[in-house]
Amino acid sequence: MLQSAPSRLVSLSGVDIAIVVLYFFAVIGIGFYLKRYTKTGEDFFLAGREMTAWVAGLSFLAANLGSLELMGWAASAYQYGILATHWYWIGAIPAMLFLGIVMIPFYYISKTHSVPGYLKLRYGEPARAFSAISFGFMTVLMSGINMYSMALVLRVVLGWDINFSIWVSSITVAVYVGLGGLLSAIFNEVLQFVLIWLGALLISIIGLIEAGGWSGMVARIHHNFPAQDFTHLWRTMGSFSDNPMGIHWVGIVFGLGWVISFGYWTTDFLVVQRVIAAKNLRAAKLAPIIGSAFKMMVPFIVILPGLLGLALLPPGFLTGETQAIATGGHSYNEVLPLMMARYLGPGLLGLGITALIAGFMSGMAGNVSAFATVWTYDIYRALFRKQAPDAHYVSMGRWCTILGVLVSIGTAYFVMQFRSIMDYVQQLFSFFIAPLFGTVILGMLWKRATPAGGFWGLLTGTFSSLGMWLWVYLDPTALRYIALSSQAKPMAENMFRALWAWIICVVVTVTVSMVTRPKPESELAGLVYGCTELPSEGHLALYQRPIFWAGVIAAVFVVLQVVFW
């Protein structure tokens, strides 16, 4: 069964297989070990709120660093060059710092168990129900993408049957998350984070040696593709037609850097759940800041292999998925496995494959544990069974984990038909995350926002985004209205659609709020800026304060933009 696919890039030796098998034993063993520590709902869904800043921070990042990230962004780097780095820097760092410094206090002080739970406290039940259902829907779709991308890697690299990969890995995730809940997911995510780095780092190191260092790599890319600029972050952003992504700086700064990024990193419960599991407010504030430091370095193991592919593989060696299938060649999505096969010998290859599997599992466990929490607390308990013993909800969480995995397997087969995995992900974000960010940010920072305003803003933002997608789908010429240019590529369209959806959400929320009755300020304590007493950090030494480290990360971020301008 393992070798049923027609071709493969490499064969695993005995030591490689031992490394992969050992990994599976380790994650399941951790799940069994932690089951004894997950007795209550607080343990199962929020890891007992006992995580240190480092564990919460690394888990926060690992939940995002799925195989989709590894494979998808390496593919995007081959396709769009260094522009793909925007998704790691301007598309993440400012938002992560904003989460840590500005938003976490409200999530943490309100003692909410989820983002929809926060919306319940701030806006009421309708906003919570709508966001919980849309989040659940998005989460299983994302989980399916992760699963499919991992199975694709294993088929390309090892020739493993795609069904075998999907089922074995999914059942493993279901076992360890079902046993130990969020605690098990977080523990394994930290383990997976370490393995991802140690497994993938070597590709970039050896690749740079072969290419003659950074300058040698850049020179080779310019030689291979003289008509395109693949190596500058901002220089080609002045016009849609000057860069390989077909995007304008307005789309990157406001669509990605503002709406998509802030929406994902500050309101997607998949990542926020890890932070609110921290043991105290200071640890919760530090967690995303620690995560941002590592996020800034991820391009070294994800973007760099794509750039090395541009430098070292023959021009045109990798093509789009459709052309690759038609010609029997390799697609962009295979660039990371190809570089892995190029450099990693016996043992190291097993570690590299384990890194990809670990990436898949961390992403999937993140989705599944968040889905189980939102389903149990925000849908099942809110809409179907309000009063039940705590043990009943824990049991529901365990079953829901298994159900979430099964539904995700179904969606994995569904996403196989999509041309570009990353375009598909950005589509989902523009539908659900962009409007949610408008609702949450207004709720936290503007006490005049009313329950009716929050609900209608979220509803119209989400459906207007779906409507814009449908409009362009039915009439491609509408692209010039949505993305401001008929030359815009799918990624650019997604950025602009997200921006419009956020603007619509904010305008509707503000308009409806101005004509409806706000909540009294006494009900907004702990939820809204200006109504919440935030603990002072004045007694802490400078290096112990989250704001200091946020400043350091922000400074490094600015320097990187200038260096790679």
Binding site: V15, L202, I206, L344, G345, P346
Partner: protein, 67 residues
């Protein structure tokens, strides 16, 4: 509760031994189709690095030592 860093240390130690062993074996029995830059013997020094990391984390976070 045993620290997650202890689990990581033990796993890295096991991986280090396996990878270093494979690297040394490859030194005396080179593959018929070696990878690019096989002469760097990446398996040997990467395996050694994993062993060092594994030992440090296993000892530093040994059960009973951490609170």
């Amino acid at each position: 509760m045993i620290s997650i860093w202890f689990f990581i240390g033990v796993l890295l130690l096991a991986y280090g031994v396996l990878i270093l062993g494979a690297g040394i074996y490859d030194l005396w029995n080179p593959a018929a189709h070696p990878v690019v830059l096989a002469g760097l013997h990446a398996g040997i020094w990467w395996g050694a690095l994993l062993i060092v990391l594994g030992v440090v984390y296993s000892l530093r976070f040994k059960p009973g030592k951490e609170k």
